[in-house]
Each structure stands twice: as structure tokens, then as C-alpha cells.
Amino acid sequence: MATIGHNNLNAKLVLLGDMGAGKSSLVLRFVKGQFLEFQESTIGAAFFSQTLAVNDATVKFEIWDTAGQERYHSLAPMYYRGAAAAIIVYDITSSDSFTRAKKWVQELQKQGNPNMVMALAGNKADLEDKRKVAAEEARVYAEENGLFFMETSAKTASNVNDVFYEIAKRLPRAQPAQNPAGMVLVDRPAEGTRAASCCS
């Protein structure tokens, strides 16, 4: 859930989509400005944060990558829990990956919170000559299912930041937390975070 304070918004964002669609590459491009031609399957890091300034506020995304648990359909409910936004990624050169992206959308509609901002990203848009999924088909599907749609390329950086900016703009602003939020145990005083009043 997006939580708000002094025009600062914290939002959990989850990535979904099949292995090889480019989920990690999109995040690495967005967070670090990097692209690796042969990105290994996600190991060691699957949790990033990045702050964006949009018109009236700053949005701090806490980005969760699947850590490979999507491979055998073993993503835990925790993954979806409290997510304010999701990017469903497919590879425009693979019709299979688009079919499965639709399955992920269904799964999100079942597991996720109803106000979640969802983006459909047709990745690898630089590989136009190998295209198997028409942009129009994906656009229509996205519209019918309440997602916004963009074609992206983690390789050329095309539209990558735009997807995240668009999500930041669409996040509901005045969303009161349902419950007083809990505390996160950290092994050092949190940087720039006010200590909870209940805690020493």
C-alpha cells in the first residue's frame, strides 16, 4: 500500500512476467542506468529502491523482483501483499510470454489489492524485426483490463523511466493507511527516517 507523509509517498512495486522477459533488466536500467546483454537470472539482489520526483511529491519505490520464484509458479502471497503498483512484463518477440503476461494479470486481480496501479510493458522493443506481438493487440488488452501500456527497451532505455513516472503519477495521493503501519527492524538507525515514537 502506498503510504504518505509530507508529500512523500512510499510505494511497493512488484514485477511480474516470465523468465527472460526482462524484468530485472528494466529495473537495473531504471535504478542504475545499466544494461547487460546477457543478464544472469536474478541472484543476490531482488530488492531495490528508487525515488522519483513528480509534480507535487516525491515517490519512493520499493521494487520487488521475483527472485526466480515465478519459474515454477511458487511466488508467495507475501510478494503481492501491500503492493501499490505492478509492472507486468512480456517480450514482444515471444507470443508465449504475452499469453503468460495475461495469466499474471489474472493472478494479480485475484491476489492483489483492487486499487493497484498496473502497467503492461512490452519489452525488447528494440528487436522490431523479430516482433511477434502487435503493439495494437497489447494496447487493446491493456485498456480492457484497466492497465496502461507501453513498449519498452531496457537495452536502449526507451520508455523505461516513463513507465515508472507514469505509475508515480497515477498512484492515489490521499490514501489513508488502513492500520497504523508496523515497524521494520533494521540493523542500523534508518537514514533520514524519524524513529517511531514508540521505540527507543
Binding site: F47, G68, S74, M78, G182, L185, V186, C199
Partner: protein, 444 residues
């Protein structure tokens, strides 16, 4: 899955998931499977529909209880000691970043047919109605001794070697009566029976210090914390850790048969006609029933209520310990209550558990002293399950089997088992000396 792994872990209970995470972080190639289509095994949290399916067959939950998905009902309810070993493991592995916690409101003890707040330091001892005026002063002196005691500083020992002096002898020095000893031993030091009295006092003193330091940590009404959305989040968080470090996850895998070579050593695991080879297997007792023996049974009741437990000052999350002696039993009884404030039930609803090591076959009768404290309930379920421990020699067969969860309402015994298994598996000892004093809680 026709590959070779260093370790195959079977079952996604908390113990197995912590081990899976630690082993993956160590760089071992881990395959983790579960026969169920959900995470957590015996330590999962169920929604209302799943709870009904488990205990009421084809019946459907009544609509007045609210939405099924708003419920996260622990199958193995426990609280986390704020300065205890589980928190050290969470910080050591950095798994805390996936979880949010809240302090538990209250810690109580059943004494002479009444429920009392557990006094944990010299000041609270003076205020507690648990003791008469002279006993309070004696207890206060004892609490001060414990608070000042530092193992490495003999000046604080007052001439006693606590590795030799028994708990009974130490307490005798302060002249405390049996009633006081009972709540100190069971509700503060969290002993499960009375053996501690004839054992060296050091363990009890350390346990009391852990309780007091945990209580001071978050200034809640108890030394405990508990994750939002229930304990089922813990195995999921450690599973994610394992996955992030390359662990492979497969749920909904039927059978999971462990295969052995001619020498009786683990060779692999077969499921759905495919065999994954491995050097070692880590699992809960249900995956290797031939290598475990039954050591006891836990009787428990799960209640859904619309009010906090009476006489706990409206605590929306609370533990009550009913020491064995107060009930004329051989083992303690534990009450655990959590509510919508920890996101385990819809607004206004409470989930209470009463559990104990079973001494009869009739949980409803056996648990009555605990259930009587709950007041009216919306729904109640009774259950009894067997506890197992491994009997194999893991150095011979390379099978590392966890012990079933006990009835205690905290995790200290759980983590002890995990750390012990980790050492057996790897030959290494985990250094859990994380800096707890530097650890703080950040508001999210």
C-alpha cells in the same frame, strides 16, 4: 528438475525455510519443494476458507465473520522475543526488510485463579498484586541482582558461581516463596517444567535478563513482537531470501520420495517421475516418517472472538502463561491472542489460541482452564497433533530432520533447533552476535 543439488529441502515450514535461506546464502545449490500448494507447512497461516476446509469439511464460514482473505490464522501461534534468537537471525540475514512488526500489547500469568500482568523488573515487582508486601521487597532484591548480573564481571556475582549454584539455591538466598518462584520460572524465564530448579542458575538468570531487555526494547507492554499479517509471513520471507541467493522453489509437488543408495545415504528426491540428485536432504518429520519417533502430542483450541481476553486491560495482542502447578498439570498451558491490529483478522475480530502438551485424549476438557479465560467465542475449533523428533544418525544417512513445533508461545526452542541443524549440516556455527543495541525500529 533432473539436476544435481547440494541440498534438497522438503517442506516450507519456518525451520526448513530459515535453513534453506542460510544454506543458499552460503553458496550451496538448493532445491526447495513442498507437497502443498502453499508456503509454510505446519507453520502457515490460513484464511477463513482454508480454516473451515481443515476443521469443518464442506461447511462454509458464516458471513458475519467477514471476508476470508482478511484472516491469517497461525497454525503454530508464537510470539517473537524482541531480543531473542529469531530477531538475531532476521537481522543477520537481512530478512527484516520484507517484514513489518508490531509490539505485542501484554504479557500475563495465571496465578491463584486470576490473571496478572507479569512483573519484569524491580519497579514492577513493587507494584504487582501477585505478591504480598514483604514478598515484594524480597522479589525486588532478587530482580536487582539479576538486572546487575553480568556474566563476564565477577564483581556483580555477589560471590556466587551460577554455573554451580542451582536455581533453587539462588532463590533460597532471597527467601522467595513458591508462588513467586512459579511465575518467575514459567512466565519470565519461560521454563516449560520445573527441572530448572535443580539446574545451574545461570540459564534462568540469562532468561530473565532476556525477558527484561526485550521488554525495554520497544516499550510495549510485553517483551514480544509479532509480524503484521501473521507468522505465515516468516517462512515466505526466508524462502525469498533463499530464492534471491539462487534457491529453486517448487510447490505442489506430490510424493517427494527420498531415495537412498546402497549404503543408506541420501541419493536424491523423486517427484512426479523425475529424480533430482543431491548430497543432503533437510526436511520436516512428515517427509521421512520412518526416521522419526513420536515424542508427544499438542492439544489446542483456536477461537474467533469479538472482544479482547477479559482481565488483560483490553490488550489487542497478548500472551498468558498458565504454569503447570497452578492447574495441577505436568506441563504449562499457553494462551495467545492476536487481532485486527496485527492484520490477522477483520476490524473488531480477535483470534485466540489455547495450547498445551496433551496429557489426555480430550482436548476440549483438558484445555478448559484456558478456554474459561476467553469469555464468549464466535467459533471454536479443537485439534490434537503428534510431535516427532528424528531418530536417525545424520552423519550416516545425510538426512537432517527438524523436530515438530512444541506448544510454547515463543520461538526460542524453534531457533535452537534450526541453529543446531545448521551446524550439523555445514559443520559451521552461525555467529549471531549482531549488534542488537544498534538495531532500532524504523517506522515505515
Amino acid at each position: 528438475m533432473d539436476e544435481e543439488y547440494d541440498v534438497i529441502v522438503l517442506g516450507t515450514g519456518l525451520k526448513e525455510c530459515i535453513l534453506s535461506g542460510l544454506l543458499s546464502v552460503d553458496g550451496l545449490k538448493v532445491l526447495h519443494m513442498d507437497r502443498n500448494d502453499y508456503y509454510g507447512g505446519e507453520s502457515t497461516s490460513l484464511n477463513l476458507n482454508q480454516l473451515w476446509k481443515r476443521f469443518r469439511g464442506d461447511d462454509k464460514p458464516p458471513p458475519h465473520l467477514g471476508a476470508s482473505r482478511d484472516y491469517n490464522i497461525d497454525m503454530n501461534p508464537k510470539f517473537i522475543m524482541a531480543n531473542g534468537n529469531l530477531v538475531r537471525v532476521l537481522i543477520h540475514t537481512d530478512v527484516t526488510k520484507y517484514l513489518s512488526f508490531k509490539a505485542v500489547d501484554g504479557s500475563y500469568v495465571f496465578n491463584k485463579s486470576k490473571v496478572h500482568k507479569v512483573p519484569s523488573n524491580d519497579m514492577e515487582a513493587l507494584k504487582s498484586p501477585l505478591m504480598g508486601i514483604f514478598e515484594k521487597r524480597r522479589a525486588r532484591k532478587f530482580f536487582i541482582y539479576v538486572q546487575n548480573y553480568i556474566e563476564s564481571d565477577p564483581k556483580t556475582h555477589e560471590g556466587m558461581d551460577l554455573t554451580r549454584v542451582t536455581t533453587k539455591e539462588l532463590i533460597a538466598k532471597y527467601g522467595l516463596d513458591d508462588n513467586t518462584i512459579d511465575f518467575i520460572g514459567h512466565a519470565l524465564a519461560l521454563h516449560r517444567d520445573d527441572r530448572y530448579l535443580s539446574e545451574p542458575a545461570l540459564d534462568t538468570v540469562k532468561r530473565m535478563k532476556l525477558y527484561a531487555e526485550s521488554l525495554a526494547r520497544f516499550q510495549g507492554g510485553s517483551p514480544y513482537i509479532y509480524p503484521l499479517y501473521g507468522l505465515g509471513e516468516l517462512p515466505q520471507a526466508f524462502a525469498r531470501l533463499s530464492a534471491v541467493y539462487g534457491g529453486t522453489y517448487m510447490l505442489n509437488k506430490p510424493e517427494c520420495k527420498v531415495e537412498f543408495d546402497d549404503e543408506g545415504k541420501v541419493a536424491g528426491v523423486t517427484s512426479e517421475g523425475e529424480t533430482a540428485k543431491c548430497k543432503k536432504v533437510v526436511c520436516d518429520p512428515s517427509y521421512l516418517p520412518g526416521k522419526v519417533r513420536k515424542v508427544g502430542r499438542v492439544a489446542r483450541a483456536i477461537a474467533i472472538m469479538s472482544h479482547p481476553i477479559p482481565s488483560t486491560d483490553e490488550s489487542h495482542s497478548v500472551q498468558i502463561i498458565l504454569p503447570q502447578k497452578q492447574l495441577g498439570r505436568k506441563s504449562d498451558m499457553y494462551l495467545f491472542c492476536c487481532s485486527y491490529t496485527h492484520n490477522v483478522a477483520p476490524k473488531g475480530k480477535f483470534i485466540a489460541f489455547v495450547s498445551t502438551e496433551a496429557e489426555t485424549d480430550q482436548p476440549a476438557i483438558e484445555l478448559k482452564p484456558g478456554i474459561d479465560l476467553l469469555g464468549p467465542v464466535d467459533e471454536i475449533f479443537f485439534d490434537i497433533y503428534d510431535r516427532f523428533e528424528p531418530v536417525n544418525e545424520c552423519s550416516l544417512d545425510n538426512c537432517f530432520i527438524s523436530t515438530s513445533y512444541d506448544a510454547t508461545t515463543h520461538f526460542e526452542s524453534t531457533v535452537d533447533d534450526v541453529l543446531n541443524m545448521y551446524t550439523l549440516i555445514t559443520g559451521k556455527v552461525i555467529d549471531l552476535s549482531v549488534d542488537l543495541s544498534a538495531a532500532s525500529a524504523a517506522e515505515e
